[in-house]
Assembly symmetry: D2
Homo-oligomer: 424 residues x 4
Amino acid sequence: MSIFEQRESEIRGYCRVYPVVFDTASNARQTDDQGNEYIDFFAGAGVLNFGHNNERMKKAVIDYINADGVTHSLDMHSTAKRRFMERFTKTILEPRGMPHKMQFMGPTGTNSVEAALKIARRATGRTDIVAFTHGFHGMTLGALACTANQAFRGAAGVPLNHVSHYPFGADKHTADNPLSNGKDVIDELRALYRDGSSGILPPAAFMVETIQAEGGVNVADKKWLQDLQALAKEVGSLFIIDDIQAGCGRTGSYFSFDTLDLDPDVVCLAKGLGGWGTPMAMNLVKPEVDKHWKPGEHTGTFRGQGLSFVAGAEALSYFEDDSFMQTVLAKGKVMHEAIAPLESTFDDVQIRGTGMIYGVDVGNGERAKAIVAACFADGLLVSACGSGGRVVKLIPPLTIPDADLQQGLETLVTHTKKVMEVAA
Amino acid sequence: MSIFEQRESEIRGYCRVYPVVFDTASNARQTDDQGNEYIDFFAGAGVLNFGHNNERMKKAVIDYINADGVTHSLDMHSTAKRRFMERFTKTILEPRGMPHKMQFMGPTGTNSVEAALKIARRATGRTDIVAFTHGFHGMTLGALACTANQAFRGAAGVPLNHVSHYPFGADKHTADNPLSNGKDVIDELRALYRDGSSGILPPAAFMVETIQAEGGVNVADKKWLQDLQALAKEVGSLFIIDDIQAGCGRTGSYFSFDTLDLDPDVVCLAKGLGGWGTPMAMNLVKPEVDKHWKPGEHTGTFRGQGLSFVAGAEALSYFEDDSFMQTVLAKGKVMHEAIAPLESTFDDVQIRGTGMIYGVDVGNGERAKAIVAACFADGLLVSACGSGGRVVKLIPPLTIPDADLQQGLETLVTHTKKVMEVAA
Amino acid sequence: MSIFEQRESEIRGYCRVYPVVFDTASNARQTDDQGNEYIDFFAGAGVLNFGHNNERMKKAVIDYINADGVTHSLDMHSTAKRRFMERFTKTILEPRGMPHKMQFMGPTGTNSVEAALKIARRATGRTDIVAFTHGFHGMTLGALACTANQAFRGAAGVPLNHVSHYPFGADKHTADNPLSNGKDVIDELRALYRDGSSGILPPAAFMVETIQAEGGVNVADKKWLQDLQALAKEVGSLFIIDDIQAGCGRTGSYFSFDTLDLDPDVVCLAKGLGGWGTPMAMNLVKPEVDKHWKPGEHTGTFRGQGLSFVAGAEALSYFEDDSFMQTVLAKGKVMHEAIAPLESTFDDVQIRGTGMIYGVDVGNGERAKAIVAACFADGLLVSACGSGGRVVKLIPPLTIPDADLQQGLETLVTHTKKVMEVAA
Amino acid sequence: MSIFEQRESEIRGYCRVYPVVFDTASNARQTDDQGNEYIDFFAGAGVLNFGHNNERMKKAVIDYINADGVTHSLDMHSTAKRRFMERFTKTILEPRGMPHKMQFMGPTGTNSVEAALKIARRATGRTDIVAFTHGFHGMTLGALACTANQAFRGAAGVPLNHVSHYPFGADKHTADNPLSNGKDVIDELRALYRDGSSGILPPAAFMVETIQAEGGVNVADKKWLQDLQALAKEVGSLFIIDDIQAGCGRTGSYFSFDTLDLDPDVVCLAKGLGGWGTPMAMNLVKPEVDKHWKPGEHTGTFRGQGLSFVAGAEALSYFEDDSFMQTVLAKGKVMHEAIAPLESTFDDVQIRGTGMIYGVDVGNGERAKAIVAACFADGLLVSACGSGGRVVKLIPPLTIPDADLQQGLETLVTHTKKVMEVAA
């Protein structure tokens, strides 16, 4: 019996899907301890946008360690943090005219969501949050109340109060969500908030993902997001974008909302922010909201991660001009062209996504599970998401070589066809 | 205006206490970007038990990176994780006869507490948790409900329900906590739980720190902890030890409770676990409790941190025999001998602590602030904790050279005397 | 200064609208201490369906008192209670084939709602309740969470959790509620409940009024109610009708839902149940739901009201044949014919209602207030309800003499016209 | 099968203890439909302080009904209400120099508690309430959160938040409550409130009964109550006395706290207030607290009960001089003398009480149940209260004839002895 079977908690999950022991990894390939190689279309759940052991980051990090750079600094100032903040300001915020402050917290996405909820409640003096069906925002109790999936909510053990869920406004009908009727919901909410006898008050904030990644790769309708933001401003609520999985280049621009003409009060970032796998989380908060914090009110031991600042600064170098994002868009096009025929071939398949995040909704979790297993056996790592795990999610590193991308897509398409043909 | 003033959130805290920019660090010394050196009695809030840039860890980590080791793996298996788990089992669990399973989660202390609360509620079917005055357990909503300090609680913005606080049972009267009356509380709780008309039911769990570090270095009474554990077993509640700050060698043995004859159902670990500053968190959970988890119920993107596994495995090598812990106890004795006279000299000073964690309670926050500032100006990093920040906390790296320890203690004692003499 | 100004709480309300001291009352007329008479279109907020000091009830009650009948018995058996229960069974339940048990509780509507919520949560093991916009269900904390009006909710002082509000399904567009889109809401809820990633679970119960009286005389759509009941059965929720104000004959049959082909699991009754003004409340609960109660779990000192049983038994005699209900329908027709022209004359007026409950929605609260004041000055008691108090509600005793009804309607129409003409 | 068995809810309770059908009642005697008479030591759970069908009240009520007095008026002014308020002011408030306002609400004790909680939360801007072990304050959700008995709390079906329970301070050790350690609790609370790191904030109010009637006839220590009130004032909380069962003459003065040198901000009254069994509830609220209400914020249909005002005004006539209270004290002495020997005879018996409320704690519920049943069979109505129903409660009408009192006491003592002798 392996040490994992002996001693690891029953809660372990991905290792049941990929029952091997990974040893090394480089860019879009992982190798297990038996020497088997896998093309990685999972990218550490969206963290490894720049590939495993990105060479630029490796070098920068090793140099930093060798120079005895500060690895851990809480919210003290460090030269590594200064470099990261300067580069983020120059590369990301200033070109967009974003006045936001940067808040660092415990380096996980759920911590960033918790901080966003606190400052929204503080700044507005309200308690309720509106989140959306199929949204995923984390596992700690405040964030979990925003997460929609009952498989996660059911573990809370206490009522998840002060958050209401309404139907997400997708850009098209989504197969597993008959309520992707964005516009109606916003009108309904506006009417409810205006009506002193509705039983419902305007929330502290609306918390939304532009692309629900864990939720099944549901892309929000642009107009719906704009209307939602307009409603938020109208009723005095904050508009918060959780860009934890869709941000940091995944959609072909730094923020997933760059092309959506939005102006969020708070943006939650994590996953791809540190760039190579060491954790980091950061909220962008408008100054007029941020000023409501008192020093030290929301702490977190690991909120000053030297290696993540160093690697994250390297990650930002990919955004100094458009060239990298152009390759992302080009690779995304390759992905779409490869999988689009599945949708036209099989009634039960729906393709959703944009940039380099795509979901293949195959109608139920059993089929998706079979596809994931077959791909794994054939050297491709993909994972399932969405309701009942019915969507095969494709999020390769943005830096994946064309040949790996091509090979991975072929493997995916082959096994998806096989499973769907059996199902038919 | 620096980038920090321009762009960092108003919530920033420690950088206001130490208004410099740190650049490099080695063992117990940090250097700022102007070349000023500081002896570190703060150790990254208890993370850096083995010093900044511990040479053994540096080498192991650089080798791992150079070999393209997996840096980020969620809860997939990896060879680095295997090594860590095997070593933890062999070095820590087996010698103690602990049957506990290891659960990895988002790599911060607050995430480990959230996971502990969930499994306690699931395993017992109850909702309430008992925590203690002056306890600190984290900032996310579930953990924050357990944290006692109103400065943190006030930022929640929603009621912090399902947790009740009772007086902590300290090993002696503590100056800032007139209610350190352990035994009485346990008898009171037992009577309340037995009484069907008390309005109070037994909780899912009791959550306690053996040494409240953030809470002001309050050391729990051994008998009180044993009685508390006995009460927990009697009423069907879990007994959870939050060993996040006091564990991993800080008290002169791996767990802070090694000498206390306790048998906790769940142990929360983080901070010193990864050993050199990259984040890591882990709960030890008895199998009969752990079995209540369903796979994947409590996730977290960054729960598989390769560098932390590698460095953490090195950290464990310090515990393969008693020699390192003997040096810790010896250094702790040096610390105590240096500061004990402050207590006998000044009526308003109380010394609390054990191992290599000591607090100098100077009676109010203003004095402590003045001491911290004077020490900083004189090249020593210490921080304040406890009610109103009235306790100067000393938690140097366990690996601090004797000379640095001596010099730091002299600085501390000098400035404490000065401030207390003015106050007198 | 009167004793009321000296000593009555600032919370007093109706006495500010009718600033006189009432002394006596008979059927549909009240007389103040100066001898001024008022026709009563308010009927004690729907309690006095059978008129003030109904002669049959007076006689029965006086006889009962003179015979030293038990006035107060908690939930002991009494002969008066036996008579009431037998008559209720024979006159109301058996003809409808209703198997429901009768539960008596503290004799106010809010207590009946609290009991209904408890048994719904117990019977289903769920916590959440769905109520509807503009609903009114009482003032105690459990019932208040179901009440939609923020003027009442705002007084709670604590979060009103575990109840969600959705748009009420009116039989037609209602002027003050743009969301009277019943059907859509039911489809939306069904989809949300079916979707494991919606963040929403099926509730313990749906709590609905067939006619929202306090909410502005909004009549539910028959099909919507049927669909709602079907949804409830489909997802394992109870279907609860709060018939406190609309029941007991007000709509032209005993229950407001008699003609709606519904089969509620629980029916809440109060107001008109006791018939002449002494309090009484009762829930009708299907046996398979009721069996979940343990004896004495939901008590209430005044749950055995002898005088209310006696008067209530007399009230039931009005339902032994159809004749009384025929007169109610006839009088309702008179009411409608009198006020319908207001709607066709004034764009801002909408008439809503059925049986002998009608609302004249005059577009805003200022107008309604002016109409109420003018009517009062002219000897007619009416009150305002609905959002911002914009609806003048007409609920005369069902026993009102034709002449009084006619005179009251003329007064109302005259003053409504005057106010609306000024507004135009 | 009787109508009760066929159609009354399973929740019915007292009728299981007294399985007869009561028909008539006069002063301290009830008669069932078979002509059996019972001496009443239960007095409708403390409502019937002036006896069943009190002759003065009967006459006043019948005259009022015959004169077509207003029976039901919500919070409109009525001549009956005026008389009641004037008399209450003159007889009760003015002699005590109490400036309190009178607030009428839904006519049950639980409604009065709900109103008290709302105004306490509003006036202080706080949410939490402190209540005490063994306290009973009602069944609706807000009041139920204050009630301590788990048999009632368990029916809520939702968490009962925002209320904390602490040990009640009894005037002596009480057999079923080892925590009757008043003074300690107040010091503990004071220390917790002063400590910013206790996790506990001062409450909106302390809610206490001077005598816990349902809780087992636990008499509060006078000094404890004074200290509690002092603590409330010190920390800005309201001090609320729930005098619903112990007030209105039961203890030998109008308020149970008349001899305790207290100055409550709010007093909750119900039960004995209306005097003869028709419901009534009223809060006395200091003007500086009451002013926080907005008109109509806490409504209730049945808050203007004409018959209760009329009977209640008669009840007040008993308090115009001391003579009636002298007879109560004398009868109370008779009660105590009769039952005190039980305590000295049987180790397991404890006598608790004062005035005309006494409890005979017989050590467990089985014995109490046997005593209640034997007494009933022998023509005496008593009921059990306290933890597990272990206390036989004696609350005869204050107007009970000496002979009935004597006879009842003999019955009680006889059967208590028998049961206790068997138990020994």
